[in-house]
Symmetry: C2
Subunit: 351 residues, 2 copies
C-alpha cells in the first residue's frame, strides 16, 4: 500500500498515546495578549510527567472547555488572579484519573475542574476543591460535563435564578448561540417566557429558533437589527441576560420595561478590545433596572444542586451543539474563535 500523502498527517484527527505518556505537553502563557491571541502568546512546552506523591492524583485531560473568561484571566486580576507569565494557562477540563495515591480517587474516576491547558494534571488537597467527580452516563458524551451539565449549564441555571423569570415575560439573551446563551434561552422557555436571542449570524439565528425553540433571534450584524429587536419584543423586555456588553447591551436596556432585571454574566465585546462601558447609565435609573453582576464561582457550594436539577428536570430536553477543535496546540485558535464568532454552542478542545 502506498504511504499516505504528507498532508494527511498534518492535521491528525486522533492522537494515539499510551495511557500514561512520559511527556506532558502544556500551553504556558508567555505574553499578555493584545486583542486576539497572537502566535507565541501561549507557548507549547514539553516536560516529563512528574511522579505523584502520597495524597496526589494524576489525571489525563480528555477535553478542555474554551470560555471567553480565559481571555480575562490572561489580562488582569479580576475575580481570579491573573495567570502569571510562564505558568500553564488556566482552563476548565474533563480528565480521567490514571494514577492515584489519594484515598478519595481511584484509577478510572472522571473529574472536571481547573485542569489547565495541558495533557496531565496533578490533583492534590490544594487543587481538590476545584475538582468535581462526574458519573459515566450511558449514551451521553463526556464533554457534556463541560457544557450543559458543566460550567455553562450551571451558569445559566444560577443566572436564571437571579433573573427569577415569570410566565409571559420577555427574556433577551445575547451571545445566544453560545454555550451559556442556549441554555439560558431554553430555561426561559421552561418558565414560559418569550425568548429572544441575539447572535452574530443567520445560521446561528436559524438554529436557536428552529431547533432550540427560541421565539425569535436577531442577527446583530444586520444593519436593521435594532428595528428587528423592537419588532421581536413588542411588550418590551423584562429580563436581559447579558454576555456581550457595549452597544448591544445599551440597545437592549433601551427596550427594557420598568423594574426589569439584568443578569450581567459576561461582557465579551470588551475582553479583546477594552471595556466599552455604557453610554447611558440614566437608562438604569429611569427604568429602575436591577443590574446584578454575576460570577459563577460564587455558587460553587451549590454546583451539585444545579447539576442535579439540570440533569433530572431538563436533561434530555435541553439541546446543545458542540464545536470540537482537536489537539491541544489548537486551543489558542479555539479561544480566538469565541471572539470572532467561529463557534456555535459549546466549544471544546479534544485532546
Amino acid at each position: 500500500m502506498a504511504p499516505l500523502p504528507a498532508a494527511a498527517w498534518k492535521f491528525p484527527t486522533k492522537i494515539f498515546r499510551s495511557e500514561v505518556s512520559n511527556t506532558n505537553r502544556q500551553l504556558r502563557l508567555q505574553n499578555r495578549p493584545k486583542g486576539l491571541l497572537a502566535p507565541g502568546d501561549l507557548q507549547l512546552i514539553e516536560s516529563p510527567v512528574p511522579e505523584i506523591k502520597d495524597g496526589q492524583v494524576l489525571a489525563c485531560v480528555k477535553y478542555l472547555s474554551s470560555d471567553p473568561t480565559m481571555r480575562v484571566w490572561m489580562a488582569a486580576d479580576t475575580y481570579l488572579p491573573i495567570v502569571p507569565i510562564g505558568e500553564v494557562m488556566r482552563a476548565i477540563g474533563f480528565a480521567e484519573i490514571v494514577e492515584s495515591r489519594h484515598p478519595d480517587y481511584k484509577k478510572g474516576d472522571r473529574v472536571t475542574g481547573f485542569t489547565g491547558l495541558q495533557d496531565y494534571v496533578i490533583v492534590d488537597e490544594s487543587a481538590k476543591p476545584s475538582f468535581q467527580k462526574v458519573p459515566k452516563i450511558p449514551f451521553v458524551s463526556d464533554s457534556v460535563f463541560l457544557g450543559v451539565l458543566g460550567i455553562n449549564g450551571i451558569t445559566a441555571f444560577f443566572g436564571m435564578e437571579i433573573a427569577a423569570p415569570k410566565k409571559g415575560e420577555t427574556l433577551v439573551v445575547s451571545a445566544a448561540a453560545g454555550a451559556t446563551g442556549i441554555i439560558v434561552g431554553q430555561i426561559g422557555k421552561f418558565h414560559g417566557c418569550r425568548v429572544v436571542g441575539i447572535a452574530g449570524s443567520d445560521d446561528k439565528c436559524a438554529w436557536i429558533t428552529k431547533e432550540l425553540g427560541f421565539d425569535a433571534a436577531i442577527n446583530y450584524k444586520h444593519p436593521d437589527w435594532k428595528e428587528k429587536l423592537a419588532a421581536a419584543t413588542p411588550k418590551g423586555i423584562d429580563i436581559h441576560f447579558e454576555n456581550v456588553g457595549g452597544d448591544i447591551m445599551q440597545e437592549v436596556l433601551n427596550r427594557m420595561n420598568l423594574h426589569g432585571r439584568v443578569v450581567l454574566c459576561g461582557l465579551i465585546s470588551g475582553y479583546t478590545k477594552g471595556d466599552p462601558g455604557l453610554a447611558s447609565f440614566g437608562t438604569v435609573l429611569v427604568k429602575r433596572l436591577r443590574v446584578q453582576g454575576f460570577i459563577i464561582l460564587d455558587y460553587a457550594s451549590r454546583f451539585m444542586e444545579a447539576a442535579t436539577q439540570l440533569g433530572r428536570k431538563m436533561f434530555g430536553k435541553l439541546k446543545d451543539r458542540e464545536t470540537i477543535v482537536e489537539r491541544l496546540e489548537k486551543a489558542p485558535d479555539a479561544i480566538n474563535m469565541l471572539f470572532t464568532g467561529g463557534n456555535t454552542g459549546k466549544l471544546i478542545v479534544k485532546l
Copy 2:
C-alpha cells in the same frame, strides 16, 4: 417721610398679599433648556385666580422644593412625562387650602404635592392622589415637609431599605451635603455604618462631618480626592448611594467590595451636560455588584409609612439645613444652584 429709594423695592424679601389675591403668578416652561436654565426658559405669566367648582380646592403655595429632577422633567419623557412647552413647570410644593368645595379638605388644611411653580394651585380628584395632608407640628417649620419629612427623607428612607445596611459596613453617598445625601448618611449612622460623603466644597465637608456625624467627607474638587477616598474607605465600600454619576461614580465603583450594593438614585452630573455613561461596566460584573435604579414615586403607597418612621424614630435626631431662596421669580436660579453647588442641605423657594 422720604420715599424709599427705588433699589429697596427691587428685591423685596417679603411679599404681602391678601389671603386670596386676584392674580396667580406662574412660571411656565417656554424653552427646553440647554445646560443650565437661561433667562426666559421659564417665563412668569400672570393670570386671574380661577373660580373653583364643586369638588375642587384652591391652595396657596407657601414653599416650593427645588429638586435636580426638575431639570429632567424639562428635557425628556422619563419616569414622568416631559413638561409640555407653555405649561406651568412641575414642582413639589407645600400649600395651604384657602378655599374648599371638596369634602376631604377644609380651609386651613396643609398639603404637599405637585403644586407646580405658581402661587395658587387647584386640587381636584385628578390631582388629589399626588397630594398629601400634613399635620401642624409645634415648633417645627412647615418646610420640613419638603425635606426631612418630605421627598428627600422618604427617598433616603426607601433607598436605604434597598441598600439594606449592616453594622460595620462602609457606606458612601455622593452629593452628600444635598437634601437627600444628608439623610442617607444619617440613616447610615443609625445602622452603625462607617459613612463617607462626597461633596463639592470644604465647607460642606466640614458640616457633614462635624455637625451631621459623617465619619469622613471628600471634596471631589481637590485634585487628590481619589486618594482621599481610598484613605477614607480602608475596608472598601459595601454600599454606594449614587446621586451624581460619571467619574465620581466610576471611582466609587472601583473601590467597592465584592457583592456591594449600588442604589442609583440620581445622576445629576448628566442632567445639564448629557448622560456621562459609565466608563467601565466590567467593574459591575467582576465585583458582582447589584445596581438598583430607584425612583421614589414607585413607593407612593408607602410614603406615610416612611414619614411615620422618620418622624417617630429619627425626627429630632436627624439634622438638616435649609437654603432658602425668596420669591417665585427666583425659582429658576434656585434650580441652577443645584447644579452649580450653591446650596447646602434642602433648597427651598419661599413664596
